[in-house]
Symmetry: C2
Subunit: 589 residues, 2 copies
């Protein structure tokens, strides 16, 4: 069974040395947050993920959740662990302080999330859904709803869920059928069936606050007729105590490939009482507050699980004796050398390391933009808000695509031992896999990136990002050219392809959809190159005798020479255009 | 639950139109095998895979095998189904006719195997292990052993297993500890523990014939001291009846990511009576007869499961209504268009189709070489024997790597429905995954390819393959240039890289290991380009109004334009050399 160990040193390196978080927080007026506090939070997060969450990961997978006549039971130890997480304040990190939330920067919260997912993704998910739901309520609900629901959500007494999908409507929310009928008291009566609701029912908290997309009887067709409602599992009395059960119940839980300890529910709303959040028919926009929160968080799932996989694979490769070095025996007194002598095992481990560490830096980079967008002002604030828009779909899709790739590699390092359950490597693959699918499948993220986030504003935010990468490379001098030159080449390709596809999209409605997935991967690889160049810059200025910094330089080099070239073949695929996809008649498939 | 449908038309296309099997079989003197018989066998294989094997696939996965005090019970329906397969003669297709085997060409047997795995990989595995063990016995055992064991193995009354791995020795068989002590009667007493033994114990047959690697007490160290022994579960009396139980028992079964219905056993040999197969200390070479058989068969697992995944994904994409075409609604009277209108869904399906159909042609191409090597003579026979050596590791690794990629894509097409168990798409991913690991992990296949199969003979067999591809392209005229030109570019790159790496390997012991995986993928992609060019050639000469042929041309184009370019980035990775992998100190990982 793998024991999760939080990669604290690398987290501190990224936070403090690469992104100089303390300086930024000070500029943003977050006076209570400094390096000392940040490190103390990371330490505590490491303890709780290692000692509380990780030990429940395998048993949670084996036991899974169970459903019996609307009641959902989570695995042994989950309710107590959730209570401890709640009492530790881990559900309120970035909440609205007026209702009991803490003002912890996102850069830091993301690192806690990485640890929680790396240790136990299924358990971490319940917390994440609650935080996301609370954020949507804090951003869009009335004062009355906020004061009634937020304090207990931040305190972890109540959990949250997001109810979008219906059996016939997944990606296409415009065709949902759940109805909301206005009632005399200003509330709404919600009727319909939702599926795939993560944490839709469970025994971790005394109440669950559902955010539900539904349509009024006279609503406009399509997505412009969707409204958002808050539907509590138990009604909440004026004094904050719990009242009767609302008319929402769990019809079953799904049996899934992974995240067995996460309850994925069918929820039946049978005239449940709900409260409008935000404006009528503007529900999708309000829900996007939660969705964007979750999308980044889902990206961090890919990061956390691939980091856990890398740790275990590296330990195993060092301990497992098998075969001899091609250059002659290294462990002469032993029966064989360690796996570390084999070039291809190193290739696998370096691929994991290169993706994991660039992914961590990328997540913190997005956190930096989120913090600036939230706490900053003026031009810097606007710039960061634009970057958040641009980077969210990349973070969701690229971190999870590379996350799956890395967990599969980690499993491969273990050979047959990676395929049996005992070592936990296959669970990491099964759990990571959902992150490419839910919260908008990765193909949808790619469409969101090229369509909504680039084409709709003429590539303005992408131009900002490209300029930032160019500026960094231009300012760098000396040895770092080894890393900035391949970065610049990738940036040029990214810029060219952006223009190529936007231009093609003028005449060709399929141009964006035909290019989007490969384009997102090119963008992701280029950003990772930027992250590696920045990390290499810090490492070059540090003590090279410290294996940590030496490792950074070697891995940056590996990334540039062996992984970044993927841009070339992806670019050729993009240039092939849409005809090669669209010309084939359906019956010829 | 997915229902497997054998892709008979494409199988016949590959067999008859692309490879003109009937002509070859006639040239090889296989007078009893003609097109009519081949199609009849394919029809029967389709029936048994669709009607007998496929219905047990989901239930087998859910129920799994169970172990209780050395007894292994397979899922409901498995024993009866195995009996039916045996009675149908499916275990004797390519057996030695002297002992009851049939003389069915491998080109055809591989297509049966594809169907059996696509329908139910776990069940198909028991048959495959038996056939492989029988082949090793037929090739290396004494007349006495052959006549005592082969007839009941071919008849499916007895199954087979291969016992190589020990807890400390997987890839590195040289360090196995299982002992074989010579007995006065000429037999050996086998003692040791083997793990990961597929079909090591089960209730499908009345006896199991284990082929076991072990070392004599005075054997030379390393792999040169390994001998091969036949160890029956039950002793066999001179009259062919079963005697007492031998001293071999199942200590437990593994709990695994997938192939739940396949028993993966710990086998304890406690002074079991065994019989030498082949010569003392030449056991590994004899076992390779079985391993090479299984390696190709494992490759076909990747093919069969990805074909099953493609079928289901295509059906789902046509039926599922979600969103609208970027070019405007197509299904105006419906609530949404089918998934087929979305360019990225087409990209996913075409990627599956391109890999599956090229993979099928590649498998039959290897079968053609195997048949020529077995039944042919003179130069042609030698040429094919060399190609079999070269192609086996590529088939094992590339078919399974692309198999996993394709099953993951198929799951992605289903969105959330692909992650729940009900639809079977996630089982295909979990089952396919083992094929990249067992029978020599794919990294080992890559080393086998570059080291044993290329470097050790100066690239002679690869030169034969390259010449064949060049000759094909040179002979093709007219429209086919669209397909032969990218093929030729890939062939040139493959040839250049072969020389580059072989040259580097002169000074650098790590050169081969550092290049091998990417090199194998370049070789695989180039061979797939060759297969697509050949299929396109046939399609160009056929009726373009037939959607089948139109589909071939469109998919060939898609492969050349959007998948083959992967060669470029892989080549750049190979050129990066070994230093970028080997320079990093272990402590800097």
């Amino acid at each position: 069974m793998p024991e999760y160990k939080a990669p604290l040193r690398d987290m501190q390196f990224v936070l403090h040395d690469v992104f100089q978080a303390e300086t930024l927080w000070s500029e943003l007026g977050l006076e209570d947050v400094n390096r000392e506090l940040a490190d103390a939070i990371l330490d505590e997060a490491a303890k709780i993920s290692q000692n509380l969450m990780s030990p429940l990961n395998r048993s949670g997978d084996e036991q899974g959740v169970s459903w019996n006549d609307t009641v959902v039971t989570t695995p042994d130890g989950f309710p107590a662990a959730y209570r401890e997480l709640a009492e530790g304040g881990w559900g309120a990190l970035a909440g609205d302080p007026e209702y009991g939330g803490q003002v912890i920067p996102k850069m830091l919260v993301l690192l806690f999330e990485e640890m929680s997912y790396g240790a136990n993704m299924a358990l971490g998910l319940y917390l994440s859904l609650t935080s996301g739901a609370a954020l949507a309520i804090a951003s869009h609900a009335s004062e009355e709803l906020k004061s009634r629901y937020l304090p207990d959500m931040y305190a972890g007494n109540w959990a949250g869920s997001m109810c979008l999908t219906e059996a016939h409507a997944g990606t296409d929310l415009g065709i949902i059928r759940t109805k909301a009928e206005p009632q005399a008291d200003g509330s709404y009566s919600i009727t319909g069936n939702k599926i795939f609701i993560t944490g839709g029912e469970h025994d971790l908290t005394e109440n669950i606050i559902h955010l539900v997309l539904a349509k009024l009887p006279d609503a406009p067709a399509g997505s412009k007729g969707i409204s958002l409602f808050l539907v509590p599992k138990f009604h909440v009395n004026d004094d904050g105590s719990l009242g009767e059960r609302n008319e929402v119940s769990c019809g079953s839980v799904e049996h899934k490939m992974g995240i067995h300890a996460s309850a994925t529910c069918v929820l039946n709303f049978d005239g449940a009482k709900g409260y409008l959040v935000g404006e009528l028919n503007r529900g999708l926009a309000a829900m996007f507050t939660m969705m964007n929160y979750e999308r980044l968080s889902v990206g961090v799932q890919g990061l956390g699980l691939s980091s856990a996989s890398y740790q275990s694979a590296l330990d195993y490769a060092q301990e497992r004796l098998q075969g001899r070095s091609p250059a002659g025996p290294e462990n002469r007194d032993g029966p064989a050398d360690s796996l570390m002598v084999h070039p291809d095992v190193r290739r696998m481990l370096l691929t994991q390391k290169a993706y994991v560490e660039a992914g961590r830096a990328f997540a913190v980079f997005v956190g930096q933009q989120l913090d600036t967008a939230k706490f900053g002002s003026g031009e810097a604030q606007q710039r960061s808000a634009g970057l958040v828009e641009l980077l969210t779909p990349i973070a969701k899709a690229f971190l999870t695509d590379k996350g799956l790739e890395a967990t599969i590699i980690g499993q491969q390092v273990f050979g047959g031992h990676g395929y049996v359950r005992e070592w936990g490597m296959e669970q990491l693959v099964r759990d990571t896999r959902i992150a490419q699918i839910y919260e908008g499948a990765n193909g949808i993220q790619a469409l969101d990136l090229m369509g909504r986030k680039i084409a709709s504003n003429g590539g303005q935010n992408m131009a900002v990002l490209i300029q930032e990468m160019r500026d960094f490379a231009a300012a760098a001098e000396g040895e770092i050219a080894e890393f900035t030159q391949p970065l610049l080449d990738a940036v040029t390709e990214l810029e060219t392809l952006t223009a190529t596809v936007l231009s093609a999209a003028g005449d060709d409605p399929h141009a964006i959809g035909a290019a989007s997935v490969e384009y997102l991967h090119i963008a992701g690889l280029t950003i990772y190159a930027y992250m590696w160049a920045r990390m290499a810059g810090v490492a070059l200025a540090a003590d090279q005798n410290d294996a940590f910094y030496a490792g950074k330089l070697h891995t940056a080099r590996f990334f540039m020479q062996r992984l970044l070239p993927q841009v070339k073949s992806l670019a050729e695929s993009v240039r092939a255009g849409s005809a090669v996809l669209m010309d084939i008649p359906v019956e010829a498939f």
